[in-house]
Every structure is written in structure tokens, then in C-alpha cells.
């Protein structure tokens, strides 16, 4: 449970730090008036969707931390037989990095209002990410044929679980990506899709980090 405990400590720590900045030490019964509200940003707060995504990613991190905790705890039992990861995963990782890079590029282009680049990079993101998911499926097949089926051993079962869950999250991202792409193709103003692209970018980067952590974990154990 170490992994999840660390995650919880970090989250609780961040929350408490944020709360301290909200002046939880102040005596609210002594202060009246609106001038105590120092949120200058009150008229132009960041878009709610951005905050919402951060909270959502905290939830997803909790899910993955718990799986990793379970992985470590299950690993200590004596029937554990490590998986021989197929080399294809390295190639897949490369694809995912490319996907992340292109969505990053895309969000820059959206800020510069460069429609053409936005279209190309958006397409590239979809292709790379689709390629990654396909690659993961092929990796599953290779593993299965190599005798690491789902039932063969908890280590293999965790492999399918991790990759599957990560893939599902990417599919969710692709759904938002497709909605954004359709809007771009339908000729929406770039100002209107900037936020969607930015959120996609954050999500892709996040999932890339998750994958790298999971991959490192799978390789090292």
C-alpha cells in the first residue's frame, strides 16, 4: 500500500497547502466587507474545465496508484513468475511519445491561429495514438502466444490489466479528440477549440507519464 499512501500524502499535502493560502487562519467573524476577497481573478477565473480535468486526473492517479500497490503486494507471494515483455512495447512507447509531441505542437498552432498546422498535427495525434493502441493489442497477442496468457500467472494478469486500463483511458481521450477534430474540420474558429486542444494536450502528456511509469514497473519486475 506504499504507493497509494505516498499519493494520498502528496494530495493531502497539496490540499492543505492550498487551504493555507485560502487564509484558513483568518477569523471570519471579525472581517466584514468584500475587500477581504483577494481573488482578483474573480471576474476571469480559469475555465472550469481546466480545474475539472486536474481533479479528474487526481482520481485517475488514485486508480493507478492502487493498482500499483496491489501489484507490489501480490508480487511478494511465491507464485509470481515475471513476464518477458515483448520488444514491441519499446516501439509503442515511441508512438505514444510522438502522439504527445504532436498534440503539443497542435496546441501551440492553435494559439498562433494556424489552421493548417492544427489540422495536420491533430491528424498525426490520432494516427500515432491509434497506432499505439493497435501496437498494444499486437503485444497482447504475442504475449499470449508466448505462453503468458491471462490465467497463466498473476504477473501476466497484471500486465493485461495495466495495459488494458491505460488503453481505455486513451480511447476516452480519442473520443474527445474526435469531437474536437470534427469541429475543426467543420470550420470552427480556432479560438473556440483552443481550450479543447489544450485539455487534450494535458491529458495526453499525463497518460504518457502514466505509461512510462507502468512500463518501467513492468520492465523492472
Amino acid at each position: 500500500m506504499i504507493t497509494i499512501i505516498i499519493f494520498i500524502f502528496v494530495s493531502v499535502g497539496i490540499s492543505y497547502w492550498w487551504l493555507l493560502r485560502q487564509r484558513v487562519l483568518e477569523k471570519p467573524w471579525l472581517v466584514t466587507g468584500t475587500d477581504t476577497d483577494t481573488r482578483e481573478d474573480i471576474g476571469r477565473t480559469p475555465p472550469a474545465a481546466r480545474t475539472g480535468l486536474i481533479v479528474f486526473l487526481a482520481v485517475v492517479t488514485s486508480v493507478f496508484s492502487l493498482f500499483i500497490s496491489a501489484y507490489f503486494m501480490r508480487m511478494e507471494l511465491n507464485d509470481w513468475r515475471p513476464v518477458d515483455e515483448p520488444g514491441l512495447l519499446w516501439f509503442n512507447t515511441l508512438l505514444l511519445i510522438m502522439g504527445s509531441l504532436s498534440i503539443h505542437w497542435c496546441s501551440r498552432a492553435a494559439e498562433d491561429l494556424n489552421v493548417k498546422t492544427v489540422k495536420i498535427t491533430l491528424l498525426a495525434t490520432g494516427l500515432f495514438t491509434g497506432g499505439f493502441i493497435l501496437g498494444q493489442l499486437i503485444a497482447w497477442q504475442q504475449l499470449n502466444e508466448a505462453g503468458y496468457g491471462l490465467r497463466s500467472n498473476p504477473a501476466s494478469a497484471f500486465f493485461y490489466l495495466f495495459t488494458g486500463l491505460h488503453g481505455l483511458h486513451l480511447l476516452g481521450g480519442l473520443w474527445v479528440w474526435s469531437k474536437t477534430s470534427i469541429r475543426v474540420l467543420a470550420g470552427a474558429e480556432l479560438e473556440q477549440i483552443q481550450l479543447s486542444v489544450e485539455l487534450c494536450r494535458n491529458y495526453w502528456h499525463y497518460l504518457l507519464v502514466v505509461w512510462i511509469v507502468l512500463f518501467a514497473l513492468l520492465l523492472s519486475t
Binding site: 474573480i42 486508480v63 492502487l66 507464485d79 491471462l150 498473476p154
Partner: protein, 580 residues
């Protein structure tokens, strides 16, 4: 002041036209709140009926027994799970959270109304899946609400064929629904507070719901993870949790898995869940006490710190549910210590409630009666919790009726009393009509005394060692005849309590349609929800301008003020400005 509030920028409220968009596919947080509440209460009634089935069996095993042992296990399981998750969690966060957060912080709606609407419908799906398990072959699962493997998925346990699958799927769907709602509640509190509404001016109700939601967002994943892994074990034959087992004379295909691993995951969710239910209750009860005692809440800051402190601590006590599962003695020591530490902020809250009443101008209204009743039941359940937090005391009492009595006092009766109090308190705002006071008072006294006579005797049964989750106690030497008599008495009390709830439903139903018109602010409260231009508030809550907040929510009986309450929207008086 020239500023455009967040809630007014870019967000176009879709104003519903037809009946369907107004009451069914509504994106208005108030309608969604009512939908959540009605569904939750409906399943709650199912859970109540299940408990009566069990009580009849326990109280009158020879004459009124209507269920068999498997059904008993199924009833226990469904009753516990429905009460904890589908009733209390959904009602506090989906119901009260949805209704009160935007109104109390001065927002027009939740920040993601569409997702909010999805949340309630997905919740309904999870309830339907759960209810479907009553009708599948083999019936619902009988694994206990803790769903411990291996028995939860072994044939021989009732409902191991379909019931358990539906239960796990339903939980996963519920978690999706909760996450959609939870993202809303948290983001709304963070971003949509109106001008002047600093965090430290929020009513404690909002603090409680806000913190509980964060706990839920971080803890429910643990239930999701264990549900997914158990589904894999059950459906795909993996061995995450399943050890090698000889079942019905055959060696299972699984092997090597760890049931303890499940327990860790489950209780990593399970303990925070207690506080997901308790923190909103704490918050609401603070507001009820303060309003009806016409006094500011004692120690507001400490109350806030206690809420967030309890929230953080609740993640490091989970293994006190596993003392009997076997663990390193040092762990037992650690978890006993953290458990007792968490009693400190909890006790602070209790003192502050009592001190709020001290020399207050107490109005014994119906909501106030329920709030004071809560203080009694909560202290009672809290004290037995300190017993059980100690390893040496827990070992003999574990899995006896002492535990049943403890958790029903602390997370059964107490939150339910708060829920009743809160419904009576906000009823005039929600419906625009007043409930019947006499009926409400009857409802309180009968419920309060009735539940006490159910659960107080159970402590004695627990001391005798009467085990929990047992269908019958015949032929167990150490259980005396008198315990059986006591059991009959408890059952009579349980039937009595269940029947008195009819008073509540009659009152609510009748008053919603026929009750006298209510004042917009019948309790002379200060917080924003009582100052909407319309009662009940319309879609969008506020008039053309959002309210402005100038002070905290507990300005009651302030010295020198001409009324005994000063609304949050009242600008500072000259005297106050001079005092600065």
C-alpha cells in the same frame, strides 16, 4: 460593482421548455438533487424492508420466520450495501450536495450541468443493475457487504453465480456516476463562489460536503480497483485474490492469490467511506444547531480544521477493520494509535456543538430536535468506536452484535437523524410550503426513542458474544434464553420504527401539495440559500445579479444589531466599519 461573475460568463443556461426537459432531462442542479434524493430514498425503503425480514427471523425464529438461511445472508448484504452506498452516499452528496452547494455559495448552477445530469442517470442505472440481482437465478449475493473473497465468488455462497457479478458491476457504475457528480461539486466550490464568498465564509455544510467529496474521489477508486480485480477472478479465472481451494471436493484452478490484499483495498475505501457519510452530516448539523440556537457556531475555524483534519487522517486508519485478519503486531499498534488520534478532532467537533447550544436561545423546532438527537447518538456510537479501536478490546468483540450496535449508532442512526433534520430544515425552501409541525415532532420522538431501543440492547448481546451475520442461535450454549427474549424485543422496536416512518412520508407528501405557504426565510437564517428572489428558487437561482457576500454565515444575536441575525448579504454597518 462592475464585474461579471464567473457563473455569468460564457455559460448559457439552457432554459427548459417542455415538461420532459424541465423535470426529466433537467440540467438544473435543484431538479437533479431531487431526482437523486427520490431514487436514494426509494432504495433506502427497500433496504429497510430487508432489515425487517432479518429482524423477524431473529426475533421470532419459530413463528414469524419468513426467510431461509441463504436469504438471510442475501438480505444482510443488500441491506448493508444499499444503506451505506446507494442511500447515504447518494443522498448526502448527490442530493444535499447538489441542492445546497450552488445556492449556498451563490452560484447559478454547477459548473458542468450536463455532466451533472448524466451523473444522476448513471446512478439510476447502477441502482437498476443492483435491483436486477434480486431477479436473476441464484438471487443477489450473500457475501456480506464487505464482499470478502474467496467466499464471495465461491459456489456455495448465495448469489455466487450472478448476484456477485451484478453487485460488482453496479458498484463500478455507481463509482462512475459519483465521479461525474464529484468533479462538479469540487470544481463548483473552487471556482463558482460569488464575490466576497471566501473559503472561510462558507457555511460548514459546504465544507463538509466539499471535503467528503474529495475523500470520495480519492477513495472510491479503491473499491473500483477491487471490484475490477474480483470480476477478473470470477469471470476470467485469474488469481489476484483467490488462493488454491478445495471446493466441493475439487481443487480450484486458481491458486496463490491473497484474500488479505482484497481486504486492504476494500478498507482503504471502506474507512474513508464512513467519513464520506459523516462529514456532510457534521457540516449540516453544525448549521442546524447554530440557526435554531440563534448563536454563532462555536469555534468555526476549529470546525473547519477538524473537518479537513479528519479528512486527511481517515486515509491512515483503514486496517482497524482487519485486526482479526492477522497482521504484524506493530501494524496493529500503528492503526490503533491513528484511530485514537482521529477521535481528537471528532471530539472537538462534539464539544463545539454542545458549546453552541450553551446559553443559546434554543428553539426546539423539528430540525433542531433531530440535530440534538444526533449529538446523543453520535456520542454514543463514537464512544463504542473508541472501544473497538483498541486491538485487545476489538478481538473478542469483533463480529458480534457489539459491532452491529456500534456502526448502526455512528453511521446508521446518526446520519439518518441528520438527514431527517435537514429535510425538515430545507423543506420550506425546496417546496415553498411548510410541513406539519406536530407530525414532525411525533416523527422525531418515535424515531429517536425507537432506534435507541433497537440498538442499545444490542451492546449487551455483543458482550454475551452473540455473533453477527447469523441466521439462528439455536443450540449455542453460551447464548442464554434471555438473549432470545431481548431479540424479540428488538424486533418489535424495529417494526415500530419502520412503521413510524409512514408519518414522515405522509407529512412530506401532504405538505408538498397542501401545506401552508412558507416564508422565504422561515428560520431567520443568514446563509445565502434563504435569500433567493423566488421560493422555491427558479432555474438560475438568482436575479439579474449574483448576490454579494459581506460576512460569514453565522452572524446570530450579534451584540448591537437590531435583529438577531444578519444575512451574509448585509453590507457592514457603520459601527462595524468604525471598529476596524
Amino acid at each position: 460593482m462592475a464585474y461579471v461573475a464567473l457563473a455569468d460568463r460564457g455559460q448559457v443556461l439552457s432554459h427548459p421548455k417542455s415538461f420532459i426537459t424541465k423535470y426529466i432531462w433537467s440540467q438544473d442542479h435543484k431538479v437533479i438533487a431531487i431526482q437523486y434524493s427520490l431514487i436514494a430514498v426509494a432504495v433506502g425503503v427497500v433496504a429497510l424492508i430487508l432489515s425487517l425480514g432479518m429482524r423477524l427471523q431473529l426475533g421470532f425464529p419459530d413463528t414469524l420466520s419468513i426467510i431461509d438461511p441463504s436469504e438471510y445472508m442475501q438480505f444482510v448484504t443488500m441491506h448493508g450495501m444499499i444503506m451505506v452506498i446507494y442511500l447515504l452516499t447518494a443522498l448526502f452528496l448527490g442530493g444535499f450536495g447538489n441542492y445546497l452547494i450552488p445556492l449556498m455559495i451563490g452560484a447559478r448552477d454547477m459548473v458542468f450541468p450536463y455532466m451533472n445530469m448524466l451523473s444522476v442517470w448513471v446512478y439510476l442505472v447502477s441502482v437498476i443493475i443492483l435491483m436486477a440481482s434480486f431477479f436473476v437465478p441464484g438471487g443477489p449475493t450473500g457475501a456480506g457487504w464487505t464482499l470478502y473473497p474467496p467466499q464471495a465468488i465461491l459456489f456455495g455462497t448465495p448469489g455466487a453465480s450472478w448476484g456477485i457479478i451484478l453487485m460488482l458491476v453496479s458498484l463500478a457504475v455507481f463509482i462512475v456516476a459519483f465521479t461525474m457528480g464529484g468533479l462538479n461539486y469540487v470544481t463548483t466550490v473552487l471556482q463558482a463562489r460569488t464575490r466576497g464568498m471566501t473559503m472561510m465564509r462558507m457555511p460548514l455544510t459546504v465544507w463538509g460536503i466539499f471535503t467528503a467529496t474529495i475523500l470520495g474521489l480519492l477513495a472510491f477508486p479503491a473499491l473500483l480497483v477491487s471490484a475490477i480485480m474480483m470480476l477478473f477472478d470470477r469471470l476470467l479465472g485469474t488469481s489476484f485474490f483467490m488462493p488454491a481451494i478445495v471446493s466441493m471436493g475439487e481443487l480450484s484452478e486458481t491458486g496463490g492469490g491473497s484474500p488479505i490484499l482484497f481486504q486492504h483495498l476494500f478498507w482503504f475505501f471502506g474507512h474513508p467511506e464512513v467519513y464520506i457519510v459523516a462529514l456532510p452530516a457534521f457540516g449540516i448539523v453544525s448549521d442546524l444547531l447554530s440557526v435554531h440556537a440563534r448563536k454563532n457556531i462555536f469555534g468555526y475555524r476549529m470546525m473547519v480544521w477538524a473537518i479537513v483534519g479528519i479528512g486527511g487522517l481517515s486515509f491512515v486508519v483503514w486496517a482497524h477493520h482487519m485486526y482479526v485478519s492477522g497482521m504484524n503486531p506493530y501494524f496493529g499498534f500503528f492503526f490503533a494509535t491513528t484511530t485514537l488520534i482521529i477521535a481528537v478532532p471528532t471530539a472537538i467537533k462534539v464539544y463545539n456543538w454542545v458549546l453552541t447550544l450553551w446559553q443559546g436561545d434554543i428553539h426546539l423546532t423539528v430540525p433542531m430536535l433531530f440535530a440534538i438527537g444526533f449529538i446523543f447518538t453520535f456520542i454514543h456510537g463514537g464512544l463504542t468506536g473508541i472501544f473497538l479501536g483498541n486491538v485487545v478490546v476489538d478481538l473478542p468483540l469483533s463480529d458480534t452484535y457489539f459491532v452491529v450496535a456500534h456502526f448502526h449508532m455512528v453511521m446508521g442512526v446518526s446520519p439518518i437523524l441528520v438527514i431527517f433534520g435537514a429535510i425538515y430544515h430545507w423543506f420550506p425552501k425546496v417546496t415553498g410550503r411548510m410541513f406539519n409541525d406536530t407530525l414532525g415532532k411525533f416523527h422525531f420522538w418515535l424515531t429517536f426513542l425507537g432506534t435507541y431501543s433497537i440498538y442499545l440492547p444490542m451492546h449487551y448481546l455483543g458482550f454475551l458474544g452473540v455473533p453477527r451475520r447469523y441466521y439462528a442461535f439455536e443450540g449455542i450454549d453460551f447464548i442464554p434464553e434471555s438473549a432470545m427474549t431481548l431479540n424479540s424485543g428488538i424486533t418489535v422496536a424495529a417494526i415500530f420504527v419502520a412503521v413510524t416512518q409512514i408519518l414522515f412520508f405522509i407529512n412530506m407528501f401532504w405538505s408538498t401539495f397542501r401545506g401552508p405557504k412558507a416564508d422565504p426565510n422561515p428560520w431567520n437564517a443568514t446563509s445565502l440559500e434563504w435569500f433567493t428572489p423566488q421560493t422555491p428558487p427558479i432555474h438560475g437561482n438568482w436575479g439579474p445579479e449574483l448576490p454579494q457576500v459581506y460576512r460569514w454565515a453565522y452572524e446570530y444575536s450579534a451584540p448591537g444589531a437590531d435583529k438577531d441575525f444578519t444575512p451574509q448579504t448585509d453590507p457592514p454597518t457603520d459601527a462595524e466599519i468604525a471598529a476596524r
